[in-house]
């Protein structure tokens, strides 16, 4: 009815639990509540930051959104449609819309494939009509978009620096022309100077392509810098959710306060 009012992503009461088994018969004796009853929404064209310390469950949320882990309960609505428990074949169309960028630039690219093959794989799946030449042209274009040169396409990942690899990872995610990208700690492993380049690039791309980000990080300064809205996670739960300004200027939750307090300031 009121189309613009529908947020791009609505998450309600999302739970992701992993079983713990023990004993003679390996019976299930409990579960790790990695994500425990989490709700939030992401509006189109915005960046939502997700901060938390290691083990807080932030990465699991990111992976649940693109179905790298299966949710235990709750609902995930994308564009108003419930995609929580779709079968893989039904989920396939959403893979074109939702993409992910990983933290580790060394492990997120298949070392045995050329850059062209890595990026072209996405094209082959979602744009099967493209011929080889068209794909090469498209890959060149994508590389240009992330600040690399077309001639880089026939090299292997190990020939690139960490920042360059992260750019390639972004290009791969962009290849399917997604609407929504989960950025799973994309700058944590990078040197500060490179970190700045990647953050800038992500911001530029968002502007240019109208992307929506879920930006997962543990560095509060970076999250503040890039996000419109911030979620603070602790032990599987969201303890505070507010606009970036509100959180940093006027934190409500004691954990958030503690977190902010711990950041050394120049």
């Amino acid at each position: 009815m009121n189309a613009p009012a529908t947020p791009l992503l609505q998450v309600e009461n999302l739970k992701v639990h992993f079983p713990i088994t023990a004993g003679l018969l390996q019976r299930r004796i409990g579960e790790v509540k990695a994500v425990d009853d989490v709700s939030f929404t992401i509006e189109r064209g915005t960046t939502v930051g997700l901060v938390g310390e290691s083990g807080s469950g932030k990465t699991t949320i990111g992976r649940a959104l693109i179905r790298l882990v299966n949710p235990t309960g709750g609902t995930i609505r994308y564009n108003g449609k419930d995609i929580t428990f779709l079968r893989e074949s039904q989920f396939r169309p959403y893979r074109k819309k939702i993409q992910i960028i990983f933290q580790d630039p060394y492990n997120s690219l298949n070392p045995r494939l050329t850059i062209f093959k890595i990026i072209s794989e996405a094209l082959e799946i979602h744009f099967p009509a493209l011929g080889l030449e068209q794909r090469r042209a498209r890959v060149a274009e994508l590389l240009g978009k992330v600040g690399l040169k077309p001639e880089h396409m026939d090299r292997y990942p190990h020939e690139f620096s960490g920042g360059q690899r992260q750019r390639i990872g972004i290009a791969r995610a962009l290849a399917v022309e997604p609407e929504f990208i989960v950025c799973d700690e994309p700058v944590s492993a990078l040197d500060v100077s490179v970190q700045a380049q990647i953050v800038n690039l992500l911001q530029d791309l968002q502007e240019e392509l109208g992307l929506t980000y879920l930006f997962i990080a543990h560095d509060l300064a970076v999250v503040e810098h890039i996000s419109d809205f911030v979620l603070v996670m602790n032990q599987g739960k969201i303890v505070e959710a507010a606009t970036a300004e509100a959180i940093y200027q006027n934190p409500q939750d004691p954990y958030t306060k503690r977190l902010l307090d711990a950041v050394p300031k120049i």
Partner: protein, 322 residues
Amino acid sequence: MKTYILRRLLLMIPMLLGVSLLVFVLVYISPGNYLDALKAQRDIPAEFIAKKERELGLDRPWYVQYVSWLGRTVRGDFGESWSYRIPVAELLAQRAPATLALSLTSLVFAWAIAVPLGVFAAVYRNSIFDKLSALSAYAALSIPEFFLALLAVIFASQWGVFPTGGLSSIDHDYLSPVGQLWDYVHHLILPTIVLGIGGAAGLMRVMRTNMLDVIQSEYVMTARAKGVPENVIMFRHVLRNAINPLVTSLGFAFSGLLSGAVLVENVMNYPGLGQLIFQAFMRKDRDVVMAAVIIGSSMLIIGNLIADILLAWVDPRIRYDK
């Protein structure tokens, strides 16, 4: 830990059932049976062979034979050796000590050689000593065990210092207790070396690689930064970590205690289980074969378990079932 061990032991049951079924069927479908040797003798009447076949139950379908074998075995009765006409358990018990002794001495031999050599090779990395030991390790790993055994037999028969086989001398019964002990040792030396040398070479290489691995680890850097003397670093910090994987290999060594020396025993004429079992396989003395397989498999499974337990024991980071 206790439940973990119990669970692993319980898992043995279906495993052993599978193993026994597989081997039983293999033995069954292989042409001929225990009576082949009789059939090839010209003065054995056909009726007698038929009678024997009935007596041994070989005329029944394989599943009936299997079920009756299983029923007996489950009750702890390994059956009777057809060629020796005594209970299989008794037969194996007669031979087991010899094999056990050989396996243990060769294990000790391998460790006694491998650990120091491996350590020194790593400490004096790229030295002449390292290169020589690497070369001899290659040689030891590349010479077929049976061939080495054969050479040892030839050597023994040419040189005359070591016996050419057997477990004890002919006059063993008439020796003093010390003499008897020496006699056993004397007979063990060559088989021990032959059986142990391959293992020693393998262990040595592993030891060296582990040492080199550990030497590069950060906690060695920490120890150095603390001012710990180099030899203490090598023999305490590094060795203690590097030897862990070897300690767990003791579990696997356990698996082979009774079944690892078949080739050497056969070539070197050492009257242990391996020789007996090899002959049982050749003669198709079924119950002996089955018992050997069951025991061998049990020891393998238990050996793996021991390896896992040892791993938890030597490496405080590993715990099962907390």
